[in-house]
């Protein structure tokens, strides 16, 4: 079953194990279901039609044997499924390999904050709603929530893990083939639970390394006059109170980090594609796109808006 984010389109070992288990359960259950239906049909056909009065049967050895046998088979099948399930459970629950890349996912109403961790402080960076990972390398994912319960879930890579306040946990996943995998918050978290998605981009190690070093750069100062004016607008407006742009005075930690906004494919946690038009609409009237989110509407003159857009789009 192909799909942007199908549990049956596994792209890594974790999801793969679960998918195999799924097919075991699926086949066993299908067979059982068909057997029961056959029995039901047989029973209905076998039973006699004639309008007799009721009868009070004596001991029915054959039926007793049949029911006993069916029960025994049920027990055996369940035992088998249980063993399969527990084995997979151990494999999936194994601790992350030592060579894995670690990143921390923080759930917010209603977006994802992502910290790439590293022993060297200079090699750490923060982004939002879009995760890039190298193919073939295990990724250790530490999860935590800043407000209510969320659930981190990228079906093609792994099952879900709840982000519960007071319960930081960790899990790991890995992508074996390049691709773009969509994930979405899976625990009801309020008004915009539906629009709390994220994208995982699995790419060859070389490309990942390039992306990473790009993320580590502070963006160059605005080149054109328009972009310079845009930066001024950004800093004059309430934006810096919530958003960070490295290399400027904007250091807000309430909203997503915008340092490399232009490098991302979506806006507002997968709500909109990251295009000039949508960005403009988002800034002017975020509550229509995503009612209830915490971004306030910003009233801007047309030319200020153009400048701001030019600036934001320069943040690669």
């Amino acid at each position: 079953m192909r799909g942007l984010h199908s549990a049956l389109d596994a792209a890594g070992p974790q999801a793969g194990r679960i998918e195999d288990l799924w097919w075991i359960f699926f086949s066993v259950c299908t067979v059982v279901f068909l057997l029961v239906l056959t029995a039901l049909l047989a029973a209905v056909l076998h039973s006699r039609r004639e309008k007799e009065r009721h009868r009070l049967p004596g001991p029915e050895r054959n039926l007793t044997r049949a029911v006993g046998g069916a029960t025994a088979v049920t027990v055996i099948l369940l035992l088998g499924l249980l063993i399969a399930s527990v084995t997979t459970g151990r494999a999936v629950g194994s601790p992350a390999p030592s060579n894995s890349l670690t990143l921390e996912v923080v759930g917010h109403q209603w977006w994802w904050e992502i910290h790439y961790e590293d022993p060297l402080p200079s090699r750490r960076f923060t982004t939002a709603n879009e995760i890039h990972i190298p193919v073939g390398l295990p990724i250790r994912i530490k999860t935590r929530s800043s407000d209510v319960i969320h659930s981190f879930w990228v079906p093609s890579l792994h099952g879900k893990r709840d982000l519960i306040p007071g319960y930081p946990t960790e899990t790991w996943l890995q992508a074996d083939r390049p691709g773009v995998f969509r994930g979405q918050c899976a625990e009801f978290c309020g008004a915009q639970h539906a629009n709390m998605a994220l994208v995982v981009v699995a790419e060859p190690p070389a490309e990942f390394a390039a992306w990473r070093s790009a993320q580590l750069q502070t963006p160059p100062p605005p080149a054109t006059a328009l972009q310079q004016r845009g930066q001024a607008v950004f800093l004059a407006m309430p934006c810096p109170a919530c958003h960070t742009i490295a290399g400027t005075s904007a250091g807000g930690r309430i909203g997503p980090d915008l340092t490399h906004l232009a490098s991302r494919s979506t806006l507002a946690a997968g709500t909109l594609p990251n295009t000039t038009g949508h960005l403009a609409g988002w800034i002017l009237d975020p509550q229509t796109q995503k009612p209830g989110n915490q971004m306030p509407a910003i009233a801007l003159q047309a030319d200020d808006l153009q400048a701001l857009l030019a600036y934001l789009e320069s943040l690669r």
């Binding site: 306040p165 407006m237 309430p238 509550q287 229509t288 009612p291 915490q294 306030p296 509407a297």
Partner: protein
């Protein structure tokens, strides 16, 4: 006969009123409300003035008694680190917000301009950091600390709140929550 019809009408009216009451408290206003965009211009902060008294400009807080807006205000209060000086309304570095003494006036528009303009001796201006809509929400929350709006619109406690009355030791709590006030 006529009486029945009268009763019916009365019931309907009552139901509508109830509905309004319910809506006002519960309505989730996602779009910024027009009233909230009206920023009061000249705001009086004192009684003294030459000549005969003139009525000051009065702007009603569009979010008063609106539970979700008050909750937003509470969130902004934390995010803007108001608690850093005022703590959870008890005051500390900054003046307390729970009592009924207001240096610059307790009317909504006074609180509004206090937040927007800032005040001497430490209260910074949030003009550049908040939209009017957000400021009004904070005003609603601050007013609620003084018990001004209908209590039924108030949250019982924020999840990071320390005990209501102070001076009792607590578990070590996450950095975002402020230390307790000592009277």
């Amino acid at each position: 006969m006529r009486r029945d019809r009268f009763d019916q009408r009365l019931t309907i009216v009552l139901l509508v009123l109830l509905a309004l009451a319910g809506c006002k408290r519960e309505e989730r206003r996602f779009r910024s409300s027009p009233a909230a965009d009206a920023r009061p211009g000249v705001v009086r902060v004192g009684e003294l003035q030459p000549g005969p008294p003139t009525p000051g400009l009065v702007v009603a807080n569009p979010f008063i008694k609106n539970a979700p807006a008050i909750a937003d205000g509470q969130r902004l209060y934390t995010q803007m680190n108001c608690a850093g000086c005022h703590f959870h309304g008890g005051g500390g570095i900054g003046p307390p917000l729970m009592d009924d003494q207001w240096i610059y006036g307790s009317d909504p528009e006074n609180i509004f301009s206090t937040i927007v303009e800032g005040r001497p001796n430490g209260m910074p201006s949030y003009r550049a950091r908040l939209t009017d809509d957000q400021v009004w929400k904070i005003v609603a929350y601050v007013q609620s600390l003084g018990g001004l709006p209908d209590q039924s619109a108030l949250p019982g406690r924020p999840d990071h709140l320390r005990a209501k009355d102070e001076g009792v030791p607590h578990y070590p709590t996450p950095p975002r929550s402020a230390p307790a006030e000592h009277p």
